[in-house]
């Protein structure tokens, strides 16, 4: 066993949707206990990558390793059984259900007894606490999520994942719709969770400065490929911006 164990590794992952190649050979490693920030252009394949790591999509080719073992993630349930949780960019909320039901979706609290009935009271209370912790105010946790604002909805999705005891957390633009104050509170929460140990995190972000603050390592994706990887400490917003522009110009000229 090497000193720094790997939580997740992908080798040369390709994903095609019909004629569209979303991932064109991506190799990445998520080390045990680190926060890996993924940055990149729109449509670069970041969400597609995350959906493969969480078992929602299956790669067209390439290998996946979870905790060092080669694994074919068959389904979201399968990935979850291996301790992988995800916040999807589209949030995966059921509009007509209440906030607290959404927060515990597919991880409901069950009452004792033979009928395995839902413990709505417990879920309701835990949901309220949890939103309090990340500083998001909602009129009532009984409201259907369709009545919430964009940021409130995102908070529900993030709270769901963050409270799941996962060992690997995949967050796809978790702060995109968050107010500055709420984003700060969530970042604090994530850092606290990380500090407890045992948790490895992939975060897709668009805010370079925020990413460099929170991530241990950053990775840049463009057009289905990883174009840059570096320890967060040894790079800067300017350097990242430069690379993006350079790569983009290179692509454009080669295409013409």
């Amino acid at each position: 066993m090497s000193e720094v164990m790997e939580a997740l590794r992908g080798e040369d992952i390709v994903k095609r949707f019909g004629p569209v190649t979303a991932l064109d050979g991506v190799t990445l490693t998520l080390r045990q206990g680190e926060i890996l920030g993924i940055l990149g252009d729109n449509g670069a394949g970041k969400s597609t990558l995350i959906k493969i790591l969480t078992g929602f999509h299956q790669q067209t080719s390439g290998k996946l390793f979870v905790g060092g073992e080669e694994t074919m993630l068959r389904s979201v349930d399968h990935a979850r059984s291996l301790g992988i949780e995800c916040v999807y960019q589209d949030l995966a909320l059921a509009n007509s259900l209440s906030i607290y039901h959404n927060m515990f979706l597919n991880r409901e609290i069950i009452r004792r007894g033979p009928f395995r009935l839902l413990n709505n009271r417990a879920m309701r209370e835990r949901a309220a606490e949890c939103l309090e912790e990340i500083g998001v105010h909602v009129p009532s946790v009984d409201l259907p999520v369709e009545q919430l604002s964009g940021g409130q909805r995102q908070a529900i999705a993030v709270a769901r994942a963050v409270n799941s005891n996962a060992r690997i957390l995949l967050l796809d633009e978790p702060l995109a719709a968050m107010g500055a104050r709420e984003a700060g509170l969530i970042i604090d929460l994530i850092l606290r969770l990380k500090a407890k140990g045992g948790l490895s995190i992939v975060m897709i972000m668009h805010n370079y400065a925020q990413t460099l603050d929170i991530a241990d390592r950053v990775m840049l994706m463009q057009r289905g490929r990883v174009t840059y990887q570096r320890e967060a400490a040894s790079t800067s917003v300017e350097e990242l911006m430069d690379i993006v522009r350079r790569e983009y110009r290179a692509m454009r000229t080669s295409a013409q």
Binding site: F56, D77, A94, L97, L105, L117, L131, H137, D142
Partner: protein
């Protein structure tokens, strides 16, 4: 009280009432209809025979509606329910003829129905045929099968069986079954993971599967449940009318069941639904049908009046009752 506790508890009651409001509204409509018919004809409710007869209008439509509701929440539908309704009692009949005891024969009939549901579900879910088409296919298939095995002729359910009174022969047995099944299905829908996940996969199929919910398994189960309920209803009705008829049920009853579900507040498009609403929806249809027949509307004008009443009741339901409630607040 802190903010947390407030969000966690305070609005619980009104929010629940709001969540249930569609059921309350349609219930008000049912009540008003009862009052109307009782005024016009005093035999409508207050004699045992009338009440019993009314209950028999409601029961079969309601039970089938419960199954359809579970499917409709997920955006699916079972068009074959009416044909399965006619099919199951024949299977029971043949099981009896083969020498099985009545209770086992009933079970065999219900299982046969469930098998149709399994086919509906499997074809829809695994072969990705829209359920409207799948169950249109099984609708025709099961209808043909029933006609073929019955040779087109009605037969009698087991007579003098000790089970018969429980199974529909006794006037109130069917409505008791209906209420019991409604209670069980309500709990299933509102207080178990199965129900919650059914709603979630109807509201956001992609999101539900992203959350790891096994949408396909749920749907398969709900198809089986719907067919099973339809078959069971067919058996109850066979005992009630003391005849097993290859023409029983049919598209008519399926149609009414879906209508009861929609009237009760379950949208065809899925994503939400209510069992209690479906029960009351079936009651509204039953009251209208029974009531107008009881007061003796002529055959030609009957449907005209029924149609107008359905429209009127629903407009009342959505507008007048809501306005009245607003005034109360």
């Amino acid at each position: 009280m802190t903010d947390v506790q407030k969000a966690g508890r305070r609005p619980r009651r009104w929010s629940n009432a709001l969540g249930r409001s569609s059921e309350i509204r349609i219930f008000a409509v049912a009540l008003i209809l009862c009052v109307y018919f009782e005024t016009v004809n005093h035999d409508f409710l207050l004699t045992g025979a009338s009440l019993q007869n009314l209950s028999q209008f409601i029961a079969p439509v309601a039970i089938i509606a419960f199954g359809e509701i579970m499917l409709m929440i997920g955006g699916e539908i079972d068009l074959s329910a009416g044909m399965v309704f006619a099919f199951a009692p024949f299977i029971m009949h043949f099981a009896l003829e083969a020498g099985l005891p009545p209770w086992l024969a009933i079970l065999v009939g219900v299982i046969a129905a469930a098998l149709v549901g399994l086919v509906n579900g499997a074809v829809t879910v695994y072969l990705r045929i829209p359920s409207f088409v799948t169950t249109l296919g099984t609708l025709f298939f099961v209808n043909g099968l029933t006609l073929t095995i019955s040779r087109g002729t009605p037969v009698s359910p087991p007579e003098n069986s000790a089970l018969a009174p429980f199974m529909g022969e006794w006037g109130y047995s069917e409505i008791i079954w209906t209420l019991a099944i409604a209670a069980a299905m309500h709990v299933l829908l509102r207080h178990t993971r199965w129900g919650l996940h059914t709603i979630a996969s109807g509201a956001n199929p992609l999101g539900a599967s992203e959350a790891g919910i096994q949408v396909r398994r749920l749907k398969l189960g709900n198809f089986i449940l719907a067919a099973l309920l339809a078959g069971f209803t067919g058996i109850l009705e066979a005992f009630r009318i003391t005849s097993i008829d290859p023409q029983a049920g049919g598209n008519q009853i399926m149609f009414l069941a879906v209508a009861a579900a929609v009237i009760g507040g379950t949208p065809l498009a899925g994503g939400s639904g209510t069992i209690i609403g479906g029960l009351i929806g079936a009651a509204v249809l039953g009251i209208l049908n029974d009531g107008f027949t009881l007061i003796g509307i002529n055959a030609f004008t009957f449907n005209m009046i029924l149609g107008a009443a359905i429209l009127g009741a629903m407009i009342f339901n959505i507008h007048v009752v809501r306005l009245a409630r607003k005034g109360e607040l």
